[in-house]
Symmetry: C2
Subunit: 199 residues, 2 copies
């Protein structure tokens, strides 16, 4: 047990603590899989600071949770972007993007739940999540433009695809005991049947 008083960060470096707090909150949210279960005091204990110090950086508990979710969303988008950039052609890019998201979700099931199912989301919304939706629509549109998917309304197709993929990821997390087929195979069926990709 640390009992020493924290050595304050240097002047102008107060933001370092903010990042430490967010990092701790992200880790705990992944384990808890429920934003309501995260207590500000528990986060403070994890970082070895006084509970009140959290208020130096966040106006209240919800703001802390939202900051953690914002970071998760950025990671998720970045993982998708990287995977897509490394792919050869738009069909592969779409598939790679979604597989990257699926891998992230399977590594961080608790965070995925908080990001998509949490009560904080209900109370405040998470407008920053629009970026991820937009990326999927663009990727589907690119497939249609390149002729590897039949021309259609890209937004509708993207929504159907995201719906199925989200269902696939969420259900694997929420019902781990059902006999799930391999994620990549299920995704490929969705890409063929819902988007019309040929593979």
């Amino acid at each position: 047990m640390e009992e020493t008083r924290r050595r304050p960060n240097a002047r102008g470096k107060g933001e370092l603590l903010r990042e430490e707090i967010v990092t701790a909150a992200v880790g705990m949210l992944d384990e808890l899989a429920d934003d309501e279960a995260l207590s500000l005091r528990a986060v403070a204990r994890a970082v070895s600071i006084a509970a009140t110090s959290v208020y130096l950086h966040f106006p209240d508990r919800d703001a802390l949770v939202l900051a953690a979710m914002r970071r998760c969303h950025e990671e998720l988008v970045a993982a998708g972007d990287e995977a897509a950039a490394a792919a050869a052609g738009p069909a592969d890019a779409l598939r790679a993007r979604i597989l990257a998201q699926a891998a992230w979700a399977q590594e961080h099931p608790g965070l995925y739940k908080v990001l998509h199912e949490s009560a904080v989301h209900r109370r405040h919304g998470m407008p920053f999540k629009e970026v991820m939706v937009a990326r999927t629509v663009e990727a589907v549109q690119a497939c249609m433009d390149a002729g590897v998917a039949p021309a259609d309304d890209a937004t509708t197709v993207a929504i159907d695809l995201r719906t199925a993929v989200n269902g696939m990821l969420a259900q694997r997390i929420n019902e781990p005991d059902l006999p799930w087929p391999p994620a990549a195979e299920q995704l490929d069926r969705f890409l063929v049947k819902l988007v019309g990709l040929r593979r």
Copy 2:
């Protein structure tokens, strides 16, 4: 505010209170949309009994939540069965069953969330939910047997369908602000594209 002591149920009718408690819990869970947020004391207040009286019927809080979920599951299965029974032919029966579940989910979004996403589920599992899964597999198999859907592994197809449908219902609840297409249309696309029904 009721301040009078509750008039005890007649001898042998203690179970009546149990049903009242479950009913209150179901109603509150629908509003809370989160099993962790339901407090045993709040349920007791809603029924106008002492908090301790809940222990006459349930060993602990989790048992109460599970009893509430069991009742919801029964309702959901019954709604599907009734709709299917009124349908003409297996394709219509499958569609009607799922539309009935979708209607139930849209009427009781909070309960749907607790049923599928809750922490209680994580802690104890809800084995009674197998019934609903089995019903979907049977309905898909019936379509294949009647030749209205191409023969395939009914379990795999049913899992894909449930995945997509669950994603559709969950996302509508969790992201109400996205521009969702009408549920019946989206479902019909899934039935055509994933199960192979012709309509």
